[in-house]
Amino acid sequence: MTNAWTDIKNTDLVVVMGGNAAEAHPCGFKWVTEAKAHRGAKLIVVDPRYTRTASVSDFYAPIRQGSDIAFLNGVMKYCIDNGRVQWEYMKAFTNASYIVKDGFGYKDGLFTGYDEEKRDYDRSTWDYVIGEDGFAVTDPTLEHPRCVWNLLKEHLAPYTPELVEQVCGTPKDKFLKVAEMISECSTPTKTMTSMYALGWTQHSKGSQNIRAMAMLQLILGNIGVRGGGMNALRGHSNIQGLTDLGLMSHLLTGYLTMPSEKDTDFETYMSTRQFKPLRPGQTSYWQNYKKFMVSFQKAMWGDAATVENGWAFNYLPKLDVPAYDVLRMFELMNNGKVNGYLCQGFNPILAFPNRAKITSSLSKLKFMVTMDPLETETSRFWENHGDFNDVDTASIKTEVFQLPTTCFAEEDGSLTNSGRWLQWHWQASSPPGEAKHDSWIIAQIFLRMRELYRKEGGAFPDPILNLSWDYEDENEPTAEELAKEINGRALSDVMDPTDPTKVLVASGKQVVNFSQLKDDGSTMCGCWVYSGCWNEVGNNMGRRDNHDPDDTGAYLGWTFAWPLNRRTLYNRASADINGKAWDPTRKIIEWDGAKWTGYDVPDIAPTAKPQDVGPFIMNQEGVSRLFARGMMRDGPFPAHMEPFESPVENVFNRKMRGNPVARVFASDAAQLGTSAEFPYAATSYRLTEHFHYWTKHNRVNSALQPEFFVEISEELAKEKNIEQGGWVRVWSKRGSVKAKAVVTKRIRPLICDGKPVHIVGIPLHWGFTGSAKKGFGPNSLAAFVGDANIETPESKAFLVNIEPSTAPKDKEVNV
């Protein structure tokens, strides 16, 4: 989230699209209720289902899953056509005026440079014209035909209300009502917030869904302001934290990136990462990359990382592909190329698409280790449960270790919520049985491996033998020790750059925040964006001052928000080009003639002059990007693409399937179904009574929602002779499940591209362990294909068939 949950009360319009906050994030959704009750804010819901969020909305519009870009592009076009643009903001704070290279274009659903064989674009024309001074060429009058603004208008031209209706199934009058309500937020004194979740990410063009809304928000001037922003509600309690800390194949901590084979040494690695400003005087904060990277390497390998060995750069593994993401790993596993797998608090046979493939893959492992507080289907994937897990146990040769861990109540530590608040919690109870902290288990495996390398030697033991593991009890690093490492400290005296005789941070002291990090090896820091979380003041994540001066919703004294305790990202953009708040009643920070002051930590250098330095300090341009250059694999503008399994053809290019540059493995391509075979458009979602696959282990939640079901419309039920509460079989090209049918008015057929499209809704909370009745989930059916930029599986849009059926059978147990 760019903003905080508590900031939503400041909005005038909430758009929930690609999420269902009332059910999936109920206590955060209260801030929507607050805004409605006390500000007169309105709520719009655009969703294939009439959800509980929709039930309290001011306006609901249905949409076919996977067609969000067409809808959002339509809204952008409406706003531009009707002059509903925050002109000053758009001109000053976006790249609308930047001139794009000749050659870039878009035709038949494809951008310039498409290579069908490689399923990739040559993106060399997707860039700015660079002048002789080395800066991007701009035309502030926006008259140049090749400026971003004019190219955007051209790109959006086809997205008329009629096209939106044809593609999305949203009736034209409903679309226009939504567009009109959104367009009102183009005035500087009216803001809109976007609340989205996995309804937007789990698509083969998920990144572009989000990008489309971000562009709309920029055109309306709603980024960086109170009650505005792009608010990813996110899933798990610390999914933000694990992303920030880089527990992903392509990441290091704090959005530093893993080296690839192109990065032959440290200098080469750095050469593509210290971004020079593309406009005069801009911050381009990634120019500090080297300070964060060297401090990270020092946190990892301490004294073994030296300037002479390029800070132990060769200790890091180097990627030969963009990422060994989970889809790639399970493809390799299914091909017999993976021997071992560790699953820490993760249940892949329910969480990943195409369960049959996941089960087959796990069956080919030599060993698997699971670490969980609860039973999981994954740790028992080899166990036969009749229809619910129909496997041949004896033929599965995987050795499995099921390790019991503590749960939240039994540990100290911090979790980062979607609003980027790092909140500390304290241990309340003793672990049951022999359950152990994850950090203890990890330490044990590591120390035992290190001991084996010490005794026996082996393949490149250096990064293991030299890994910094300096804890009072090396068998169990404490949360406090780890948090302090994340924050970073001086390894030798750090001198004040303005006065070299003065010590800024004495050796061994915690740095105050990342502004004190150095690229000479004198500081270490596990994760630069978190620096400041535990400095010499103490544990800032444990702060509990809930005062909120002038009720802005900022709560600066409550725990710690990254970066630098900043609560609203890009908050410099809450003020105009001269530094005055766009809306005086919603001031965040203002320029007082010498510095920025206000309710939040300024997202700009405190003395940066407003006319000179742009608000988007992480970008080389200093402004935001309506045109993404070559940074997204599937286009610098969002373009309509159908899901890989769609009930209709792409109206821009009827031969094009899915996202033209998304990676599809051959065996998965063969398992994509067609609408002739599988006529119904399925989607997956959560229920308010359950959290993923955990709460089926709780008796209360299991009693509230005991049994797997699917939701269909009355029209489809009638067509297929399906009874309310009767058993149905739902199947895709990849699998089959049995469920109780819930026939509901909440789902209605849509007319798309001239034909009716029926939607099948599949909630995701059941398996074969726990207190609830045994059942299935949508991932038994979903397609094994991911987003073109980040490989998030397309679990929100796939094709199925449905018929009346009988109850599934469990394994017969001989008593």
Partner: protein, 199 residues
């Protein structure tokens, strides 16, 4: 504990005050006073309160866990009650149907208690000691790493890439656990490393 005066001790003080005043004012006899002394104390007054965060969605509501026993004093502590934290700016004491039933997660009948091991082809788990399990896991991992770590690519560049063992980290673990896990996985060369943010 992170509060100077916890709500529990406040209630104790207040409760004692009320009892003393009422007894005097109403002139209870000794027998009556003895009877009053038998009234069961407010259940939560004897518990330890701990500030916590709901582990489910990323709204991260504040909660208070009430335990019998205090882990900070080295006691064995059991959760007896969980409720919303009224001081928390986001949830202000409210909880959803999941958060309100959190105690059931901590006390679930399917909580795992012991390391379990499944031999290849076996149809049951068997108990295993921690030492045995961890030694065997370390052995299996080292053997696989030694056999399959790709030290150099075809151009002779150090790549130190281990693709034959992968790891999924849990996005419900703390940042501190995550950092320890990160150090472990990246230093041993695992590249097939993701968390729920990928899906």
């Amino acid at each position: 504990m992170n509060m100077d005066l916890s709500r529990r001790s406040f209630m104790k003080l207040a409760g004692a005050g009320v009892a003393a005043t009422s007894l005097c004012a109403m002139g209870f006899s000794e027998a009556e006073a003895a009877e009053v002394a038998h009234v069961r104390a407010f259940k939560l007054a004897t518990t330890t309160e701990t500030r916590q965060t709901c582990p489910y969605c990323s709204v991260a509501c504040g909660i208070i866990i009430y335990s019998k026993g205090d882990v900070r004093k080295g006691d064995h502590a059991e959760v007896v009650h969980i409720e919303g934290d009224v001081d928390h700016p986001t949830n202000r004491g409210t909880l959803c149907p999941k958060g309100a039933a959190l105690k059931d997660f901590v006390k679930s009948p399917t909580r795992l208690l012991y390391p379990m091991h499944r031999k290849p082809g076996a149809d049951t788990f068997e108990r295993m000691s921690w030492d045995e399990a961890l030694d065997r896991i370390a052995r299996l991992m080292k053997d696989d790493r030694d056999a399959n770590l790709l030290l150099k690519n075809e151009k002779g560049l150090d790549v130190n890439r281990w693709t034959t063992t992968g790891m999924l980290a849990a996005s419900a673990t703390s940042n501190e656990t995550a950092w320890a896990t990160f150090k472990f996985a990246k230093s041993i060369g695992i590249v097939g490393f993701d968390n729920q943010a990928r899906v």
